[in-house]
Symmetry: C2
Subunit: 343 residues, 2 copies
């Protein structure tokens, strides 16, 4: 059952919502606990007690400063939950506990906060994770951002999983689980005021549902990496550098929606550098790639998964693109100037 | 050995430091890992692997938006580490793993970031905790804050410790571990441009060193709470409300520095509502209070610890101050309007 909105159209965030007094309490109880409540969070203590049996835990954090806070296909709340869940999944871990740090701008419509919280709630569904502790701060009006969110996460490693980027090995297949660049293109086009007749939407989604069967049932994956900031180019360079291997990808094999190509040519961007928020790069032994692709494609968000290249011994630390015209080009790690505040 | 500064006077944060590309990598490796590095953090993976034996873990988060980012007695880096360590200690846990989420403003002098990181490093010393994972974002110039920091933390409960605010029991003694309001008064006077001849400094400090022997060796404490946002007034009201008891405190017994009283009378503030960042309220059986006070006072930051009142059956949920003039006054939870952005 979805909780009914508790806020009226005129309610906004006041500085005193961040003062630690009565108004902070009410905000937390009436809005945050109402949307995200569970037996641990509801204690509203300084922290959350976690019962952990002997396990390999994974701990991660990310802050989200995306502008605008609502974009085609998602919002900052969904992004924050998915981003942290996906970081845990990339480490081979089942997401379990999340913290929520809100930094709100004075004057933020309460309805915007409620929307973000409701999105978080929806994104958490089916992931086995919950928000167990949090903190709310308010800063003065005029900073022009609405809200920033930090989510830290704790998960537990799937038995036997070892998905570090250093594990890539010559001969491995390089899989991408869907079209790349949707998130970056959706946010950038929204910000540039480009309205496309077509339906360009962020791919922001939690990856646990798609990758849990692969992690749990094998065959064994060598590496997992989500191509977020810096896009596929940064993810593949990370893998090549950490593993001391070379990576060759085939341009014609890389799934890119035509809407994303359109935005890229309008704004002078490269799809390889655009962030995804619901995709993974999966590196696995070539013999296993068929079975793994099949599992990934059986999930709704993995239907367009493809093998896009291979890991090789040559040119260690380098990523080479085999172009559609039979040429080759080095894919460098982007400098980071293209795309501020897309996540 | 303290790492030498790696930045020159003219270096500032650029938007591309937050883009996830080469410049982000360099910032992380040259500055953050250099200051806070350890075997887990240095892996620079999407998250940090934690080895946990079967234990009661505690998970907490806080964002820090203090303005200005450097204030008498500390800075935002020290505040962020101490705040999260102290939240874990208040839950009866030994601090162990921290995450670090940086939100930086474009144009921030690199030296300011380095200073904050060095403060974090110094505050972590002797606490048994380290930063094991992190994230860096950059937002556009002109937002006027310099940096926000989020730290989440994982700690492990000391065997037998149960320090929830609901545990206060009639007859218990109420101890405060030092003078109250130093942090709030230092930040507010700095912001108001009040220069005091005297040495008014924030009390920001990690509480693990002082409270570890108390938690580990007994006698048993009933509750712990750090009077941060909302000050002693909010902390005591939290305890009274959660435990369904009344609390009576004696005005003349509450340690308040005369410099803090001075700032309060100038700015129209109440010391009871001012944040502390290196103090704790300790509730314990009256018979045990002597032994506990002795342990606390044996630590440098606990020398001025005092019993300031008692828990009673009457007026459940209410905090009563016995004034210096023999009267009584209800101490309410502050509404939060007084003190924006003190932590």
């Amino acid at each position: 059952m979805r909780p009914k909105p508790t806020t009226s159209a005129n309610d906004t965030i006041l500085l005193s919502h961040g003062g630690g007094g009565l108004l902070t309490r009410r905000l937390v109880k009436d809005l945050i606990v109402r949307q995200l409540g569970n037996s641990i969070l509801n204690e509203l203590d300084d922290g959350a007690p976690l019962k952990i049996k002997e396990k390999d835990a994974v701990f991660t954090t990310d802050s989200y400063v995306v502008r605008p806070i609502v974009f085609p296909g998602g919002d900052i709340g969904r992004l924050a939950v998915c981003g942290t869940i996906n970081d845990l999944v990339m480490m081979g871990a089942a997401p379990r506990f999340l913290s929520l740090g809100l930094i709100l701008e004075e004057g933020l419509p309460m309805a915007d906060l409620e929307r973000a919280l409701a999105s978080m709630r929806a994104a958490l569904r089916g992931c086995g994770a919950k928000v167990v502790t949090g903190d709310t701060k308010v800063v003065e009006r005029g900073m022009g951002f609405g809200m920033f969110i930090n989510t830290a996460g704790v998960g537990f490693r799937v038995r036997g999983a070892d998905t570090r980027v250093a594990n890539a090995s010559p001969g491995d297949a390089v899989i991408v689980t869907g079209p790349i660049g949707d998130h970056g293109a959706a946010v950038m086009s929204c910000r540039a005021g480009i309205s496309l007749r077509s339906e360009l939407k962020s791919d922001v989604a939690p990856l646990w549902g798609m990758l849990a069967p692969v992690l749990r049932c094998g065959p064994r994956i060598h590496c997992l990496r989500d191509p977020t900031r810096g896009g596929l180019a940064a993810a593949l360079n990370d893998i090549a550098e950490a593993s001391g291997t070379g990576i060759r990808i085939v341009e014609s094999a890389i799934p890119v929606r035509k809407e994303v190509r359109g935005v890229c040519s309008l704004l002078g961007l490269d799809p390889l550098n655009l962030a995804c928020e619901g995709r993974a790069v999966v590196i696995c032994p070539r013999r296993a790639s068929g079975a793994i692709l099949q599992r990934i494609r059986s999930h709704p968000i993995g239907r367009q998964a493809k093998v896009i290249g291979r890991v090789c011994k040559g040119h260690p630390g380098m990523v080479i693109l085999e172009t559609a015209f039979g040429g080759e080009r080095i894919i460098e790690i982007p400098t980071g100037e293209d795309l501020p505040r897309i996540c």
